[in-house]
């Protein structure tokens, strides 16, 4: 089966997730689809698998235009997708899941289905116990079940979205072997969506690279990693010239930290951030950098290891205790995790202030908010609700609510979605904090920002932290390699 995507476009508000992407997928090949977060990989694959329709553009199967209005119709046309989180029903047995959406007769023919399932799994050396409950299976086994289910449903083109996340090395080998078998012996088309260069190099015959919603390159693989990295992240910008700043004593020290759960563990994290230092964390979303920030904030408890604040062990402290000790945390979702949509700016200020009287002095609070609105250049009034502010102003509000002075400031995506002016303003505020001796640990998806603004940088990949690099001596190129899991 030969599938062609022609000029696929998909917009989400002002964001062009897919901007006229055309590509051709031939029988018996394994394709790699590469790109940063937000490059448009998932959107494109969701369109191909019928999960969402494109705004414009066409999908041709063997030269015939097709219209997928649901994953089920896509599968009848032979396109199946394995999602990153398996879409199975954990409280059911394997056999029930297998039959789900396949056998619509009453009564269900369990015997025949079990034989089918058994047959398919032996063909790919999977060991699936048909009567096991899905929640007793490992991630890899659930994936195998889903793969078999898609094949039984008639999939000729199989999309695998980050399939190696959360599975063991052994299962990865099994998966890759079965993928090769499917392509080479059975003539299926496979698409591997991944950001791990090694996997693409090992498995694929051809790679497509997306950036900012466009297809920016394709290449036969294996090839030089260099080329792929350059296409993924664009041209390497000049190294930043950072003004020298005298750093103080270590404020945050993380020693042998282990945290997280079965979905994502961060292991053996060691780092220290000094007073006045800006420390940047890079990595694709879901690589563990957010876990580290949340562990430092006290939102997730470490499994082992220590976190020290100005020399004092705070590992067991609650979020609120750390907050009153001078640790501030600002999350990525401004209106979901940080601000309350329907509360006024003044109400936010009253809530965020460390000292409280029983009765609220509304007039005093309003005046203080007026002052901060002027100081932080927020476009809004004390009685505006947080939801009425623009993204940039919400970010300024979050800054306006921070205590002074702070020992440690933890920040997620400080400038995501902000225009250049707001971005520069936010960083000026960071630098003011830095002058006061605040240690700053932030994460961002923007590598240029990380290199330009940080003193030192660490990169996360699959829950592991890379060596720590100095911002003055690194490049987008190097970080790109580290993001791909290469040291």
């Amino acid at each position: 089966m030969r599938v062609e995507l022609q000029r696929i476009c998909k917009h989400f508000g002002p964001v062009k997730a897919n901007d006229g992407i055309s590509l051709l997928l031939e029988e018996g090949k394994i394709y790699g689809l590469l790109g940063e977060n937000g490059a448009g990989k998932s959107t494109l694959m969701k369109i191909l698998s019928g999960y969402q329709p494109p705004d414009s553009g066409e999908i041709l199967v063997d030269g015939q235009p097709v219209l997928f209005d649901s994953p089920a119709t896509a599968l009848t046309s032979g396109v199946g997708m394995l999602y990153q989180d398996p879409l199975d029903m954990p409280p059911f047995r394997v056999i029930d899941n297998y039959l789900l959406g396949r056998d619509n007769r009453l009564p269900l023919n369990y015997k025949k289905a079990a034989a089918e399932l058994q047959d398919l799994s032996t063909r790919y050396d999977f060991e699936i116990n048909v009567n096991a409950f899905v929640d007793t299976l490992s991630m890899g086994e659930r994936q195998q079940l889903e793969l078999v289910r898609q094949l039984a449903g008639g999939a000729e083109v199989l999309i695998l979205d980050e399939p190696t996340t959360g599975i063991s090395a052994e299962q990865q080998k099994l998966l890759f072997d079965s993928m090769r078998k499917l392509a080479q012996e059975e003539g299926k088309t496979l698409i591997l969506v991944s950001h791990k260069l090694d996997e693409i190099q090992e498995l694929c015959t051809h790679a497509f690279i997306l950036r900012q919603g466009q297809l920016v390159g394709e290449s036969e693989v294996p090839c030089l990693n260099e080329n792929l990295v350059r296409m993924m992240f664009g041209q390497v910008p000049a190294k930043s010239e950072r003004p020298y700043f005298e750093l103080g004593e270590p404020v945050l020290e993380v020693e042998n930290l282990n945290a997280g759960d079965y979905r994502l563990k961060i292991e053996d994290i060691n780092l220290s951030v000094q007073a006045g230092e800006v420390f940047g964390l890079a990595g694709l979303e879901g690589s563990g950098q957010r876990r580290l920030i949340q562990a430092c904030a006290g939102l997730i408890q470490p499994n082992s290891g220590r976190i020290k604040l100005a020399g004092e062990d705070i590992s067991g402290w609650s979020y609120h205790r750390r907050q009153s000790a001078g640790v501030a945390y600002v999350a990525a979702g401004r209106l979901e995790e940080g601000l309350v949509d329907d509360l006024s700016l003044t109400e936010h200020l009253v809530l965020a202030q460390p000292e409280h009287s029983f009765l609220i002095d509304w007039d005093g609070a309003r005046q203080e908010m007026e002052r901060r609105i002027a100081h932080y250049q927020i476009v809004g009034r004390p009685d505006s609700t947080a939801g009425e502010l623009s993204g940039g102003n919400q970010q300024r509000l979050l800054f306006a609510l921070l205590d002074s002075p702070l020992k440690l400031l933890l920040f997620e995506h400080p400038t995501r979605g902000l225009d250049v002016r707001s971005t520069n303003y936010i960083w000026d505020l960071f630098y003011q904090r830095r002058e006061q001796g605040t240690a700053i640990l932030f994460l961002s998806a923007d590598l240029d920002e990380i290199i330009e603004r940080s003193d030192r940088i660490a990169v996360f990949s699959g829950g592991r932290m890379s060596r720590i690099v100095s911002a003055n001596e690194t490049s987008v190129d190097e970080l790109g390699h580290l993001i791909g899991g290469q040291q």
């Binding site: 997280g260 979905r263 994502l264 979303e285 879901g286 690589s287 563990g288 950098q289 957010r290 876990r291 949340q294 939102l299 997730i300 979020y319 609120h320 907050q323 945390y329 999350a331 209106l335 979901e336 995790e337 940080g338 601000l339 309350v340 949509d341 329907d342 509360l343 109400e347 936010h348 009253v350 809530l351 965020a352 460390p354 409280h356 009287s357 029983f358 009765l359 609220i360 509304w362 609700t385 939801g387 009425e388 609510l401």
Partner: protein, 381 residues
């Protein structure tokens, strides 16, 4: 009837604005029409029914006093619910908290001997404590065990009823022999002083008014009230801003439980004179309807509660005059709340005023998160 199509946009907008302004009346009218239709089906003239209900609620002084006597505990419970609703909590367990208040007061009345003022004071304090503890169980189940307050509350409601039945038929049964109806009447000094021949205790009116005033002040002017408001709107953001959500949930529930317990004491010490099988008479559930109908407008609560009290008392007279069961009053109030919830958002039904519409989500009661703790712990990455 045909409306003249107006040429100017301005007129259209005004008409829509007028419709939006009058919107709150629509569900009330719809509920009345629905109930009238029901009466017609049962071969009763709506006019007769309305007159009977009016007579039952307002006809004579004794009727009016009954309405007020019923209104007081309803008001206490509704006032408590204003606090829990503000914190985004569905305190369905209020019924059980009322019953526990009644049990607490009864225990004092049956077991303790003291001069009247002291005895009554102890009764009220114990009743409030009992209601608060019953609410504390719900709060702990929620904060410690992650049991949603609706389920915890329902379970504790059942337990409260079972406990009442056990006490009535067991340890507290009257000397002349057990019945499922109630305990022996309490001594006069244990009861709230009543106004003449009615079931209305003037003192209880004072409780309701003081409680309501306190809650209005607490919700408007205190830091605690602001914390509850933030918690009710976005529990996780509030937590990040520094609000200890668990503590506030426990406090809000206990506050509500204490007022509900006081309501239960008023029921047992003035409406009745003993602990009865159905001591609450559904006041807790009715109070939930009152607060939902008021939709966060605190000032509406006393009036809605009074209206409901009148309708429910009128239903009793209705039964005497017609063959209809007194539950018609309950049907009317229930249907009214259903219609209010159904019509609560004119925008969802396609009536919009471009000037007023913002895209910040539906109004409050609809938008109440069923589980403000849906995201208790950050998922990370």
């Amino acid at each position: 009837m045909k409306f003249r199509q107006s040429p100017s946009i301005g007129w259209t907008l005004t008409r829509q604005q007028a419709l939006l302004w009058a919107w709150p009346i629509v569900p009330v009218i719809a509920a009345l029409l629905f109930t009238a239709g029901l009466l017609v089906i049962f071969d009763t003239s709506p006019a007769v029914a309305v007159q009977a209900m009016y007579q039952g609620a307002m006809g004579e002084a004794s009727n009016r006093l009954s309405v007020v006597a019923f209104w007081v505990p309803l008001m206490l419970a509704s006032t408590g619910l204003l606090v829990t609703f503000r914190a985004g909590l569905w305190n369905i367990g209020i019924e059980g908290q009322i019953i526990l208040g009644a049990i607490g007061a009864s225990w004092v009345a049956l077991r303790i001997d003291a001069p009247a003022p002291i005895l009554i004071a102890i009764e009220l304090i114990v009743a409030m404590a009992a209601g608060a503890i019953w609410a504390l169980f719900v709060a702990l189940l929620k904060t410690r065990g992650h049991v949603h307050e609706i389920f915890g509350g329902l379970a504790l409601n059942s337990l409260a009823v079972i406990l009442t039945n056990y006490l009535i038929s067991g340890p507290w049964q009257p000397a002349e022999g057990g019945s499922f109806r109630g305990t022996a009447p309490f001594p006069d000094k244990a009861l709230l002083p009543l106004l003449s021949e009615s079931r209305f205790a003037p003192l209880s009116l004072l409780f309701a008014m003081v409680a309501f005033a306190l809650v209005v002040i607490a919700l408007r002017g205190t830091f605690w009230g602001l914390k509850l408001k933030a918690l009710g709107k976005n529990a996780y953001s509030s937590f990040l801003l520094g609000v200890s959500s668990k503590r506030e949930i426990i406090l809000a529930m206990m506050f509500c439980g204490a007022l509900a317990g006081l309501g239960g004491a008023v029921r047992t010490l003035s409406w009745f004179d003993s602990l009865r099988q159905s001591i609450s008479g559904g006041i807790g559930f009715t109070a939930l309807l009152v607060v939902m109908l008021a939709n966060y407008n605190m000032w509406l609560v006393p009036f809605i509660a009074l209206f409901f009290s009148g309708v429910l008392q009128g239903g009793i007279t209705l039964q005497l005059r017609t063959q209809l069961h007194s539950s018609l009053g309950g049907i009317l109030t229930g249907v009214m709340v259903l219609f209010v919830l159904l019509f609560s958002d004119p925008r969802k039904l396609g009536i919009t005023d471009t000037k007023m519409v913002s895209d910040h989500g539906p109004p409050e009661v609809r938008g109440q998160p069923l589980d403000p703790f849906g995201r208790d712990i950050p998922e990370g990455d």
